[in-house]
C-alpha cells in the first residue's frame, strides 16, 4: 500500500556544516552505483553507510536506493531479507531516495507484470521505458523547488513513470510531460542519476527531510 503522505514543506536550505549531528545515510550496496552515492553523501558532510544486510540498517537516518539493475537488486533484496526491514524503516519516518533502479524498487506498480517490491511510492513505472542502452540520454532537468539552475539529468536505460497518484508531488517532467522526479512525503525518486554529476541538490533535499522529521517530532 502507498504510504499516506504527511507532506512537510521544504525546510530552508540548512548549511550541513551547522548540523548538531553528522547524519548517517544508508546506501543499499548489493550492486549498482552505490559508490557514487557514497561520494555525494560525503560531499555534503554526511556519513555514508553501505547496507548489505538487515543489521546494516540500524542507526541510519535515511536510506538511498541506488542505480543499477532493478531485476538483480529485487532478487538480492529478498535473498538477504531486506524488503520488510527497509519498508519498516520508511514507515518509521526515515526519508528514502531512489534513483533509476531505486525508483523501480520504490514503485507501487510495475507495468510489465513484475511484482512491485517496496510499494512506498504511489507511482506506476515501466522498466527501461525510454529504451535500451542506445536510447540512453542526457538532458537538463528543471526542478523549480531546487532553484532556477536546471539539474543535469543522465538517463540510463531509465524507467518511465506511467502514472502518479494524487499524493505524489511531481518535481519535474520530461518533454512528453511524464514525471521524472517525484516526492511523496519523505520518499524521493528520480528516473535519472544525480549521483553521476557534481550537483548535490537532490542529496541535500534528502538531508533536509531528516531535519524536517526532527522539527515535527521534536529532538
Amino acid at each position: 500500500m502507498p504510504q499516506p503522505a504527511s507532506v512537510p514543506t521544504l525546510a530552508p536550505r540548512a548549511d550541513p556544516g551547522t548540523q548538531s549531528k553528522r547524519r548517517r545515510i544508508g546506501i543499499l550496496a548489493l550492486q549498482g552505483d552505490f559508490r557514487e552515492h557514497a561520494n555525494a553523501i560525503r560531499a555534503i558532510d554526511a556519513e555514508p553507510v553501505l547496507v548489505r544486510l538487515p543489521r546494516d540498517l540500524v542507526g541510519i537516518d535515511a536510506l538511498i536506493l541506488p542505480g543499477g539493475e532493478s531485476t538483480t537488486m529485487r532478487k538480492l533484496v529478498d535473498r538477504y531479507g531486506l524488503r520488510e526491514p527497509i519498508a519498516a524503516l520508511a514507515r518509521g519516518g526515515a526519508p528514502v531516495f531512489g534513483t533509476c533502479a531505486g525508483m523501480i524498487l520504490l514503485a507501487d506498480r510495475i507495468t510489465d507484470g513484475d511484482e512491485p517490491v517496496l510499494r512506498l511510492l504511489d507511482i506506476a513505472v515501466q522498466r527501461n521505458g525510454y529504451g535500451r542502452q542506445l536510447d540512453s540520454f542526457e538532458s537538463d532537468v528543471e526542478i523549480p523547488e531546487l532553484g532556477d539552475e536546471p539539474l543535469h539529468g543522465v538517463f540510463i536505460r531509465a524507467p518511465v513513470v506511467t502514472d502518479a497518484g494524487p499524493e505524489v508531488q511531481v518535481l519535474a517532467r520530461d518533454q512528453s510531460g511524464r514525471p521524472i522526479a517525484v516526492r511523496q512525503g519523505k520518499v524521493l525518486a528520480t528516473a535519472f542519476h544525480p549521483e553521476l554529476t557534481d550537483d548535490r541538490r537532490m542529496h541535500r533535499l534528502l538531508l533536509e527531510l531528516i531535519e524536517a522529521e526532527r522539527g515535527t517530532t521534536g529532538p
Binding site: Q31, T71, K75, R127, Q133, F137, E138, I156
Partner: protein, 296 residues
C-alpha cells in the same frame, strides 16, 4: 527538459557504473541466460561457445550468430553484451545494429587486426576491452572504451593471470598518483598511452572508467579475491556453466561478489557447490595458445 543528447560518454560510462558490484555471466543459450538472470547476474555475455570450449574447438573464433544474440536479448531484461574480434569494425557495426547494450572487443575471439583496435568513439554503443597492465588499459580508454576488464586467462578456471593483471593495473595507478605533474609526460611515454588519460588517472587515483576483472574466475572465493584486489565487478565465463551445479555456483558467485569482504557469508556460500570447472595449469598451455597476449 531542453536539449536531449543520446549515447553520450556519460551514458556509456554510466551504464558501466550501474553494473558495478555485480557479476556478468557468459551464456550460450536463452536457457542459460534465464538461469544467470535468476541467479542475480547484472548482465549476460551472449556467446556461441564459452572460452574453455573455444580453446578445445580451435579454429577461428568469431562474433556470435545474430539469431542467438536476439534470442538471448528476448529471454532476459538485464543488459546483454556480445563480443567482436579485436579490430573488427564490421562485426562491431553489426552488434550495434542488433542493439546490444555493450560490446566486448575481446581477445577471446581470434583477432582481426594485429595492429589496430577499433576506434570506439565512433560508435554509439559502449565498449569494454581487456588489459594486462595500466598502459594497455589507458590505450583502450583513449580509443573510447567505457569499461576496462583485466584479461586473466579465459577458459582456464585458473585465477593466477587475473591476479597478475589486476595487481599490475592497481600498482601502476598508485605509481601514477604519486608522481609530480611534470613527471607524467615521461610516464605517458613509458606507458605508450595518451597523456590526457594519464593525467586524468593520476588526478583521480583510479581509472576514469570502471575497472572489472575477467579470465579465470571459477569459485566464489575467486570473485571475492578479485574484488579485494580492486575489481569493481567480475566477468565469469566457463566457471559457471562448466561446473557441476551451474545454478548453485552462479548464485554463490553473485553473493560472494556483493559480500566480498564478509568471510562468514563467503564460507557459507562456498559450501556444497559440487565440482568446480576443471582448471588448467598455465604451464599446460602452449605460449601461442595464450589468449591474454592478443591485443596491443
Amino acid at each position: 527538459m531542453a536539449i536531449i543528447e543520446t549515447s553520450t560518454w556519460a551514458t556509456k560510462v554510466g551504464l558501466a557504473r550501474m553494473l558495478s558490484g555485480g557479476v556478468i555471466m557468459d551464456v550460450v543459450t536463452a536457457d542459460h541466460a534465464r538461469i544467470a538472470e535468476e541467479a542475480g547476474a547484472v548482465a549476460v555475455m551472449a556467446l556461441e561457445r564459452v572460452p574453455s570450449d573455444i580453446r578445445k574447438f580451435g579454429g577461428v573464433a568469431r562474433m556470435s550468430d545474430p539469431k542467438l544474440i536476439e534470442e538471448i536479448k528476448d529471454a532476459v531484461s538485464i543488459p546483454v553484451m556480445a563480443k567482436c574480434r579485436i579490430g573488427h569494425i564490421a562485426e562491431a557495426q553489426i552488434l550495434q545494429q542488433l542493439e546490444v547494450d555493450f560490446i566486448d572487443e575481446s581477445e577471446v575471439l581470434t583477432p582481426a587486426d594485429e595492429e589496430h583496435h577499433i576506434d570506439k568513439h565512433q560508435f554509439r554503443v559502449p565498449f569494454v576491452c581487456g588489459c594486462r597492465d595500466l598502459g594497455e588499459a589507458l590505450r583502450r580508454i583513449g580509443e573510447g572504451a567505457a569499461m576496462i576488464r583485466t584479461k586473466g586467462e579465459a577458459g582456464t578456471g585458473n585465477i593466477v593471470e587475473a591476479v597478475r593483471h589486476m595487481r599490475a593495473v592497481m600498482k601502476g595507478i598508485r605509481e601514477l598518483a604519486g608522481m609530480r605533474e611534470d613527471e607524467l609526460f615521461a610516464a605517458a611515454k613509458e606507458l605508450r598511452a595518451p597523456v590526457d588519460v594519464v593525467n586524468q588517472t593520476a588526478r583521480l587515483g583510479e581509472l576514469p572508467v570502471p575497472n572489472f576483472s575477467a579470465g579465470g574466475v571459477a569459485t566464489p572465493a575467486d570473485a571475492s579475491l578479485m574484488r579485494q584486489l580492486g575489481a569493481q565487478a567480475v566477468f565469469v565465463g566457463s566457471g559457471i556453466f562448466k561446473s557441476e551445479n551451474p545454478e548453485l555456483v552462479a548464485r554463490a558467485i553473485v553473493m560472494a561478489t556483493t559480500h566480498y569482504d564478509n568471510a562468514e557469508i563467503l564460507a557459507e556460500v562456498s559450501a556444497g557447490l559440487g565440482e568446480a570447472m576443471r582448471g588448467l595449469e598455465l604451464s599446460e598451455i602452449p605460449a601461442e595458445e595464450r589468449l591474454a597476449i592478443r591485443g596491443w
